[in-house]
Symmetry: C2
Subunit: 320 residues, 2 copies
Amino acid sequence: MKRIAAGIDMGGTNTTVGLVTEGGECLCEQSFRTHDSASFNDFISRVVTVVNNLRNGLDGSFSLVGAGIGAPNGSYMTGEIVNAPNLRWKGKLPLGAGLASALGVPAIVTNDANAATMGEWYFGSAQGMKNFVYITLGTGLGSGFVVDGQLMLGNDGFAGELGHVTVVSSGRQCGCGKRGCLETYVSAPGLRRTAFELLANSLTSSALRSYAYDSISAKIIAEYAAKGDQVAIKAFELTGEMLGMALANVVALFNPEAIFLFGGLSKAGNLLFEPTKRHMEENLLFVFRNRVKLLPSGLGNKNAAVFGAAALIWKELDKK
Amino acid sequence: MKRIAAGIDMGGTNTTVGLVTEGGECLCEQSFRTHDSASFNDFISRVVTVVNNLRNGLDGSFSLVGAGIGAPNGSYMTGEIVNAPNLRWKGKLPLGAGLASALGVPAIVTNDANAATMGEWYFGSAQGMKNFVYITLGTGLGSGFVVDGQLMLGNDGFAGELGHVTVVSSGRQCGCGKRGCLETYVSAPGLRRTAFELLANSLTSSALRSYAYDSISAKIIAEYAAKGDQVAIKAFELTGEMLGMALANVVALFNPEAIFLFGGLSKAGNLLFEPTKRHMEENLLFVFRNRVKLLPSGLGNKNAAVFGAAALIWKELDKK
């Protein structure tokens, strides 16, 4: 009987469940809206139903050996979600224990960024690397760090909060309560804020002037940048400058082989990668220049967090 | 026959050799001026002579099992020193191979900050910790990171350059060729630069106004601060602010249990620790507040690098 692991990507909007083989093949997957469940217990039941439906739909006989879950503020150490700002259910949520008990297999929890990092490490372009940084650019900026062959956890399991490194003293207000965090500049909403700052500070004509703040997206800004809109291009340049400078500092601390950019905003491709790489190189300590690769995810449009959550199980089984 | 390891702290000015037991007792040590040797080969011979003299002076019979060396820009991976700015001998220096061959025992090289980190970890206040940061504040700012129970090395062995993280865009000129590096603000010369900036920008009366730039030291500034000199006090406040903000970012990335401050400038005690701790806490992400210890070295006036260099040998023997 072949073995499969459930990889679960729990987000503030959607949750995706996939059944993944040891070789990194996702046999099937299904998504649903996270908050359609009235309570956290209902959510657990929903996950179990989806896992069982997916198993029943498989051709051939498979044995489920475990479930990995990437969740916002998920702790590898306790298996709990702790005060996730983008979930409706507050306090400590016993995600790992709840799923293990309901599914009857081991369940391992980590945060969403670490799950995506594991996916790239096990099944993507970071295979075989011992030192790399993985950055997800979406509604926020998440990050995972592999240091000397280990996923970095830190003393309480909360290491890797690159999005909340202060890059501008008394800068933009952040959802975390601080000011000037990197993710207020480098993320989909950060790009929008930069574009609106440019519209306010300059008189440059731009198609972006006809959009309301609430109706403009990073995708729209990228489309206008590709058409030559000067404000849109400048917004990407400034985003790349902020990210490049932050990455030069990350390199000074971690000396990684590569840095991966993943998530919605990274789909802008060279609009983002080119200025980021240029400003990173300009700010690097001499010894690190032209040594660090800045790469897109090797998983393409696959859900890295589903693969990485499943990889948590394969890694755990490897140990034994 | 009892075992001893040689711990060697090679600096730009002095080199200290100590013979250290497995239990962390330094039986004897001797220092000499690094650049009294005409060539790098002469330097190796000098180290060997000192090690042998120290051994001959010991009461009882001891077996030398290895030599650990902390050296500027020393690489654990290659055993070489690579382009150390504060050594007269340039290019790649085969320190590990040279000493191993001349002494007839294994030799392990690391950089000076990592050696001090190992000393605190094996024999000081960081014993048993799995995640901590060690910062040496002297002529520069060196740092070592223990991450999830491993000394962080990075892809090329150059991880941990906190002193060259950019904290002020287009800020003070640094010896490394960049601008605005943390060590241009937080180090003995950084404190002096801050004091002179304050003398230039304010009209506050201060005893520091009678000193030339070349004749003032961090120790003199600390003495005046202790006597109530407002400029000297403010210089420490600003140094602590810069360090505290940088440490808040370090905590967001590494989630350490503790941060140690070591070296000449750290001897200023609360003049430095109090503002550093206050500004660190003010800038921490909510989840990390009041959780991270800011500590002085537990090795007192002992040479942490000598102990740490010796610990490299004990650690290596432990593995086998």
